[in-house]
């Protein structure tokens, strides 16, 4: 299975580990990702707020490049990229809008732009829970996880097609197939503060703090995320959140691809676990202990 891969800027910087783990996981699952040659930024969060046509032109260029490669499906890990790509493709269906966008581009975009999907949806579509579980080499047994989608993954609902916008469940399905214990996490779609980390730092600290606090109370070993910005706010800015909430969390925040990668038996160094600010060490040790116990128990039976 081959898909056009659109990494998005974050995979080149703040979310190197997301890109690394996505590549490793998909390879392990037999999903071939072909990076779109010459891709550029989708406009991210600011462009569509300023000029929808310019934002769509940025996305249309990337989709057009994918179309030239003969791709029917573009895959991206970042929810913000996905939202922009899908919105642009939708808007391009309107002739007047398409005309405006084409004027901004060097050459008019292809008539039929490929559809876009997230890495998570793609894995969920290719593997159901049972076939996925069958491929697990190193199950996440004994690990309690909170699935945190962020505000963007499931919204706007009609664009993202991610199930109920208030209560998506795909990440839970995938991670529990990998053997993890998923807690009911009511704040799964509440905003972490997003890009307000720069202009309104206390707001982001408070929002992220609320998420980290509830996760701590629920006694999870880590928060699983799917959005580079969420990961940054919860992990890199965790100290700020601790200060705002006057609390101590020390909560590992991992991409779901890293967690699934561990389950598939990929070595931590190939998943970019060393890039995390809050160490995943305790989590790894817990996994090791559980697997040792499992081997012992198996040995005992035999």
């Amino acid at each position: 299975m081959k898909f056009a891969y659109y990494p998005g800027c974050s995979q080149e910087g703040s979310a190197l580990d997301y890109g690394k783990s996505t590549g490793a996981l998909c390879a392990a699952l037999g999903i071939e990702l072909a990076e779109i040659p010459g891709w550029s930024c989708c406009g991210s969060t600011p462009a569509h707020a300023v000029d929808t046509q310019l934002s769509a032109a940025l996305c249309a260029r990337n989709l057009d490049l994918a179309a030239k490669e003969g791709a029917e499906q573009v895959v991206t890990p970042c929810p913000s990229c996905l939202s922009n790509l899908r919105l642009a493709a939708d808007r391009m269906k309107e002739p007047a809008f398409r005309k405006g966008v084409n004027e901004l581009l060097d050459a008019p975009a292809a008539e039929d732009l490929p559809e876009s999907t997230s890495v998570m949806q793609l894995i969920g579509r290719v593997y159901d829970a049972d076939t996925l579980a069958a491929r697990v080499k190193n199950p996440l047994t004994g690990i309690r996880l909170a699935a945190y989608y962020g505000c963007l993954m499931s919204r706007p609902a009609d664009v993202m097609q991610f199930g109920d916008p208030e209560n998506p469940t795909l990440m839970e399905t995938l991670l529990s197939a990998c053997g993890a214990e998923m807690v009911e996490f009511p704040l799964k779609t509440v905003c972490c503060g997003a890009s307000f980390g720069i202009p309104e730092r206390p707001l982001t600290a408070r929002n992220s703090g609320r998420i980290l606090e509830l996760a701590t109370r629920l006694g999870v070993d880590a928060i699983a995320v799917a959005c580079p910005l969420c990961q940054m706010n919860l992990d890199l800015r965790q100290k700020q959140a601790e200060k705002a909430e006057d609390a101590f969390f020390h909560m590992p925040v991992l991409y779901f691809t890293q967690l699934m990668g561990l389950a598939m038996g990929i070595a931590p160094e190939h998943l970019g676990l060393d890039q995390l600010c809050v160490s995943a060490g305790p989590l790894l040790r817990k996994m090791e202990a559980a697997s040792a116990k499992g081997t012992e128990a198996k040995g005992g039976k035999a």
Partner: protein
Amino acid sequence: MRIGVFVCHCGSNIAGTVDVAQVAERARQYPDVVYADDPMYTCAEPGQQAIEQAIHDYKLDGVVVASCTPRMHEPTFRRTVERAGLNPYMFEMANIREHVSWIGKDKEANTNKAAELVLMAVEKLRRNRPLSPKAFEVTKKVLIIGGGVAGTQAALDCADGGVPVILVEREATIGGKMAKLDKTFPTVDCSACILGPKIVDVSQHPLITLYAYSEVEDISGYVGNFTVKIRKKTPYVDWSKCTGCGACTEKCPSKKTPDAFNEFMGDTTAINIAFPQAIPKKAVINAPYCRKLTSGKCGICAKVCPTGAVDYELKDEYVTETVGAIVAATGYDLMDWSVYEQYGGGRYPDVITGLQYERLLNASGPTGGHVVRPSDGREPENVVFIQCVGSRDRSVGRPYCSSFCCMYTAKQAVLTKDHLPNSHSYIFYMDIRAAGKLYDEFTRRTMEEYGTHYIRGRVSAIYPDGEGRYVVMGADTLMGEPIEIKADLVVLAVGIQASAGAAKLAEKLRISYDAYGFFMESHVKLKPVETNTAGVFLAGVCQGPKDIPASVAQGSAAAAKVLGLFAKPQLESDPAIAHVDMRRCVDCGKCIRCCPFGAIEEVNMRGVNKAQVIETVCQGCGLCVATCPQGAIQLSHSTDNQILAEVNALCRF
């Protein structure tokens, strides 16, 4: 033929954009027209007198009035010409208000169109024939569907007026939603105490036949003579023997049966009597939970029953009743609020509905009237009420106001303070809609005397804080800031929707319902209890959201309509109906299949089968006329000749 034409000014409604004098002038040139005038208000008394005078003075045989919609005034003018000695069907109306003056501003074009519509009416009238209605007998007995407070009131009023009543209730007991309530607003009096005597009266009234645990299967016939098939669902208990002693419910081992009457706030037994004041007070077995019925092992209730009433072999029974009128009072259901994932989608045990809270407050409820949290049985300290959950919310397809939630939430806040003096109540509201008698005073008292915190704004999310309480995140839109409240219990004022199966019943009754399943009244303002099907009336929330006083008032209004209908010795049928030309009919049966009212039957005429219209059932819709391949059916008052004459009048240029 001598025809008179009256072109109405309707003040400026018509005369503002139509040159009515010119229309009258042109009408004078039309064939057979001997008189034309343009009165100011044709429907007013002087206008009607002028018509009568003209009929006498000019010896008119027919009258055309060009004015508003026939829905509004056709019956008025038919009576007018009848008073002057003409047959009421020698009258035609041209709608030059809704069809002309209200929709266009070009006076010349409007005047031309109005003149053409008048010409069409004249050409049709020239081919009109006098028609006379047929009189028929009425069965002076009424069917009331639904035994909630509206149906109960209608039943008692009809029966007190001397009309025998058949009351059909789908549940095992009458009383409806009101029986589940603890107290009523704005008087905070006990709901069961004011409803109880009424439902007891129903059971004791000699003229009321109560079919509880029954459903209407099929309705046929027409006003005055409806035939109704009723299915009496089997309770697996012979109600003629059951005394309601309750011995069976005490001994039943299946104690984990969901308790629908208590809004699933507790469990009950598989054989059960809904509540202590139930009418009829008879036991019913909830089949899917009965061990005897599901596995054949048990049978304890049959053993302990002192009268031997329990019978696991009992089957549904059917009865047929003939009635002259029907009152639909089928009430409502709460909407399925689990679509609100932001409020937990039904997964948090301490987020409950207003109706569930009523059961918690009620002395005969699952906790004996003790307000505790369903999750851990602890008394709540902070209770948060959220209004408009499934009301005035287009995102869940409920744009309408449920009309009584503002008031019952205020009442529940008051009761919470009464039950738990140390508690704090918070109410998130959008607007307070307290428009009834003494309602605004009540909500004010809730705020001022009971210290309930009213917060204007929607709640964005509720989530458990991991320590047994809930965080309610919302906005205070008056302060313009976000707000978070730690709650022990959250009560949702869940909006209402039409009762399950309302649409199916509407089809059986041949009445209309709106986009949300509420039954349509005949006229929003002037015929609020009638439907478009003669003899079928509405009471209570089946027509739209209403509180108890409004439901009771409408129940009485429906009863008044029934009594008024039955006060006439005989009813008259509309003569503008279909007729079959027996010589042309080839008995293909197409008309029988297409008639939505079941008004055409097959009869044997001297050895050959023919179609025949049942005159009292036919509504004159004309579907059969359009369907008949032989052209054997004609609609009196709208014959092919008349319609062609109208078309020719328009197409002569």
